[in-house]
């Protein structure tokens, strides 16, 4: 998948949910071996996810597995999961750059000779992880994104977790900035009230406006709302089209200055328009592409 707006967590030991996970339009599926699986069932979940990766047709999505942390069952997870070729692996409780380097080393040892390199997503969910977010973000070429883990983070900091999310405002921006500085993607935390569709829509829009490239979903019902929020709006696409047109016109006319509606198109405006149009084209949204 070229665009990753939504990443859907799927309990790794639930055959019903594992088999239908691909039906809801999520860009990334994360089969969870960590929090969703009891310690006594880790082996069963590994076998189930491994077989699902090999046999179930999930279409054009990124298939990811959330591992257990490096200090618990990660090694055993990798031995079963790596041979079934997930696109990505998600490592929880990443506190420092060395954690990613260590995981990458384990992957080097386990990947087959003809197997593509598996990418890594890191969950930043501790004060230390957040403090070291930039170092983590540029720790290894396998790392393609950071995910904000708000529940663990607020618990460790001692802040009150609220729907409005003021307590994680700075943390969110630090994750966005660290990822942007390293040129990788950033994903916002899950919105835990699965019955509050309006709250989710607002939270997703906030995440997009903060600069996150996508957001995690804890229930299939959340996927569409997240995708809709991260899709460029028709207004954004129309404006980007005008900006790009005026730039081309200015170029043709040899004039150094382009303008839309009397306002000069400067470099940041042009950059934003290009990004919007690129995303709209990848998603095949109406109004995207050449006229």
């Amino acid at each position: 998948m070229e665009v990753r707006r939504s990443i859907l967590f799927v309990p790794g030991n639930n055959p019903g949910m594992v088999q239908t996970a691909g039906l809801f339009g999520a860009d990334v599926l994360v089969f969870d071996l960590e929090d969703a699986v009891a310690p006594s069932e880790k082996d069963a979940a590994r076998d189930l996810v491994s077989m699902a990766l090999a046999e179930v047709d999930y279409g054009r999505v990124d298939k990811c597995v959330r591992l257990n942390s490096l200090d618990t069952f990660c090694q055993a997870d990798l031995e079963v999961i790596v041979p079934s070729c997930p696109d990505l692996l998600m490592l929880p409780k990443v506190h420092r750059a060395q954690d990613i380097v260590e995981l990458a080393g384990l992957l080097d040892g386990l990947e087959g000779p003809y197997q593509g390199k598996i990418g890594i997503l890191a969950i930043i969910e501790s004060p230390q992880g957040l403090a070291e977010a930039y170092d983590i973000a540029r720790s290894h070429e396998r790392l393609m994104g950071l995910l904000m883990g708000a529940e663990d983070y607020t618990a460790m900091v001692g802040s009150l977790r609220t729907k409005a999310g003021h307590e994680i405002a700075v943390a969110r921006s630090l994750v966005v900035n660290a990822a942007a500085a390293a040129g990788i993607e950033s994903f916002d935390a899950v919105f835990t009230d699965v019955n509050d569709e309006e709250g989710l829509a607002a939270d997703s829009l906030l995440a997009k406006n903060l600069g996150f490239t996508g957001k995690a979903a804890i229930n299939p019902r959340q996927v569409k709302t997240i995708n809709d929020a991260f899709n460029p709006s028709p207004g954004e696409i129309a404006y980007a089209r005008l900006v790009l047109k005026s730039l081309r016109q200015a170029e043709r006319e040899g004039s150094g200055v382009a303008s839309v509606g009397g306002k000069m198109v400067d470099a940041p405006v042009a950059k934003r328009a290009e990004k919007v149009m690129e995303l709209a084209e990848k998603l095949g949204l109406p109004g995207a592409g050449d006229e």
Partner: protein, 94 residues
């Protein structure tokens, strides 16, 4: 050829899952199957379970399976887990 050392169990009775209990046995793979889709998929389920056992080198085992409409991938996975828990194959224990 490997043999099952002890009784072990994997899976649940939730819909789309299968609970598999393996026990030491002789004379091949003996399956006692209970399934809500037995009429339509009884033979297919038996084949999936036998294939999973053979893939781990197991030729003699008694299997009890209570199926709630699991797809082949889930049946295979539960069988592998049950056999691993019974001492077959690489110890990947949690």
């Amino acid at each position: 050829m490997k043999s099952v050392l002890k009784a072990a169990q994997a899976g649940t009775l939730e819909s789309n899952d299968v609970m598999i209990i393996v026990e030491p046995g002789e004379n091949g793979i003996n399956l006692d199957l209970e399934s809500i889709v037995k009429k339509q998929y009884g033979a297919a389920i038996a084949a999936t379970i036998a294939d999973a056992a053979k893939a781990l080198g197991v030729t003699d085992v008694n299997v009890k399976a209570i199926d709630r409409g699991a797809l082949p991938y889930a049946i295979r996975a539960r069988m592998v887990t049950a056999l691993e828990r019974a001492g077959i194959g690489p110890e990947r224990g949690a």
